[in-house]
């Protein structure tokens, strides 16, 4: 199944600058595998060591967050739009103890 993947700016270093990449895949997992075989390094950026999505990465299939669907097992229809979007975040510190303020 042919579908369109939107690559965010920080990952375009792997795709030679391409913002939109066409892949053949029937699940989100296959999308990531396809991307990684063509652009090695993408999988490690998007997934953590256990193979799950990194905390600060969101993937949307036709606008829906895959965390509301079947995560990486979410199926992708022909012509689907898959968007990889880093979470927008400005967090603040590890969970340091009050008595041991930031070094």
């Amino acid at each position: 199944m042919s579908l369109k993947v939107i690559i965010p700016a920080p990952l375009r270093k792997y795709t030679q600058g391409s913002e939109i990449v066409e892949v053949q895949a029937s699940t989100v997992q296959e999308v990531i595998e396809q991307l990684d075989s063509r652009f090695p390094g993408i999988r490690a950026s998007v997934c953590d060591e256990s193979g799950g999505l990194r905390r600060f990465i969101n993937i949307y299939v036709d606008g829906e967050d895959v965390r509301f669907l079947e995560n990486l097992r979410t199926e992708t229809r022909d012509g689907a739009e898959v968007a990889i979007v880093p979470a927008i975040s400005g967090g603040s510190g590890e969970f340091r103890n009050w008595t041991n303020p930031a070094s």
Partner: protein
């Protein structure tokens, strides 16, 4: 005058220069502004702070501007009020309200963050600023952008309250209503920021923007006579405010403005119809499971909170807690605050009060300790959140008035 050393990835520690950058390029984690704390400690003394104008910039050594602020000069230093009547109603003997419903220019705590972000946009010489917003941020970005002479592009969920739309459009902003909820708007905004060279305050300006929230903590400590309170109750949407309150108190200790290490317990408040951070805390976890928001507290309706992981972590680490409030409880909270303290808060304030009531009833907040509740926005923005009786109508005759009030005791 800047004491900024640079930006640093919160997770992997990779340093970045203090430029426009949304997150870490390696692990996509948030970036934190790092300061030269030793130099800041020499400059930022209690005496110097006391001599400065009553605004958030009195702590400028711990804010990330390179030069003097050009907009938002009157922002911050909102009242910290002793709330005895509300305290009696909730069973808390030393209750205070940090009243950001009186923050300028747009009557919410967001004025603090946009003041930093829009000044940074000027420093970076950006062409325009923008944001994804649940309303308060939209008002504030629009106002400060207008004051800075910058065009603004503001994206909001389609179902936003009418008042918040008017209070954004009035500043001449390009206001775009997106079909979907805040999380949809946020995703779109992030994709726009990838393409257009604008400063999105909660995307590529976010490391700086979020620093403005620390001033809530700085002010609370100063207004308590340079003491950290025993508990702070904070409304949570994306989770950044409570995280930055933690950073703010930590920094005050670090540069010696607080004599002792804070033992403050942080408590988070959300609406029951959008409670992903509260759920995580109640599970004893920092793992956020996103939800689809459904509550009258639209300003807190972020189902996939970007800083939820950190917010839950700080709550758990400080021995605090979290609770949520159903819509009727939120409305009741707004009314209780208004009737006991004369403060008309928006829905997020109702959430804070309703949750404080629950935490006190559960014995999670020490009734004798100093508790500060953050009231983050103004009720005039969400007039539909409470249903009140219609006014009584009479003829313009003294007899009609007397009949109406007959039997009502005179209050001396």
């Amino acid at each position: 005058m800047s004491f900024v050393k640079g930006l640093q990835c919160r997770e992997c520690g990779r340093p970045y220069p203090a430029e426009l950058q949304a997150g870490c390029e390696d692990c996509f984690a948030p970036l934190e502004v790092d300061y030269d704390y030793e130099a800041a400690a020499r400059e930022l003394t209690r005496q110097r702070i006391a001599a400065r104008p009553a605004a958030m910039w009195r702590y400028r050594e711990l804010l990330p501007l390179e030069s003097e602020p050009a907009v938002g000069l009157g922002t911050g230093f909102t009242p910290l009020l002793r709330a005895e009547r509300l305290g009696r109603a909730l069973g808390l003997k030393n209750l205070y309200l940090k009243n950001d419903s009186a923050c300028f220019p747009t009557l919410s705590f967001k004025d603090r963050v946009t003041a930093v972000a829009v000044n940074k946009a000027l420093e970076f010489r950006l062409e325009a600023v923008g944001c994804a917003s649940t309303g308060n941020l939209a008002n504030s970005v629009a106002a400060n952008a207008a004051a800075a002479g910058l065009p603004s592009y503001i994206l909001v969920p389609e179902n936003l309250e009418r008042t918040k739309i008017t209070a954004t459009s009035i500043y001449g902003s390009r206001l775009i209503a997106v079909r979907g909820n805040y999380d949809d708007v946020n995703r779109l905004c992030s994709q726009i920021a990838d393409r257009h060279p604008w400063g999105f305050v909660n995307v590529n300006l976010r490391p700086y923007y979020a620093e403005g929230s620390k001033t809530v903590a700085f002010e609370i400590a100063e207004q308590l006579g340079w003491q950290a309170p025993d508990a702070i109750v904070v409304p949570m949407a994306g989770g950044a405010l409570i995280s930055k309150i933690h950073k703010g108190l930590s920094e005050l200790r670090r540069i010696g403005l607080l004599k002792d290490a804070p033992t403050t317990r942080l408590f988070g408040a959300q609406a029951a119809g959008c409670n992903p951070i509260v759920s995580a805390v109640k599970r004893g976890s920092t793992e956020i499971r996103p939800v689809k928001p459904n509550t009258i507290a639209k300003s807190l309706s972020i189902g996939n909170p970007a800083d939820g992981y950190y917010a839950a972590g700080f709550i758990l680490q400080t021995g605090g807690g979290a609770e949520d409030a159903a819509d009727p409880e939120i409305s009741a909270g707004i009314q209780l605050l208004a009737e006991t303290e004369g403060i008309y808060a928006e829905t997020a304030g109702g959430v804070s009060i309703a949750v404080t009531r629950k935490l006190a009833a559960q014995g999670l907040i020490d009734p004798d300790g100093v508790t500060v509740v953050v009231v983050s926005g103004n009720g005039l923005k969400t007039p539909d959140a409470v249903e009140l009786a219609e006014p009584e109508v009479i003829d313009a005759k003294i007899d009609a008035f007397e009949r109406l009030v007959k039997g009502v005791a005179y209050v001396a």
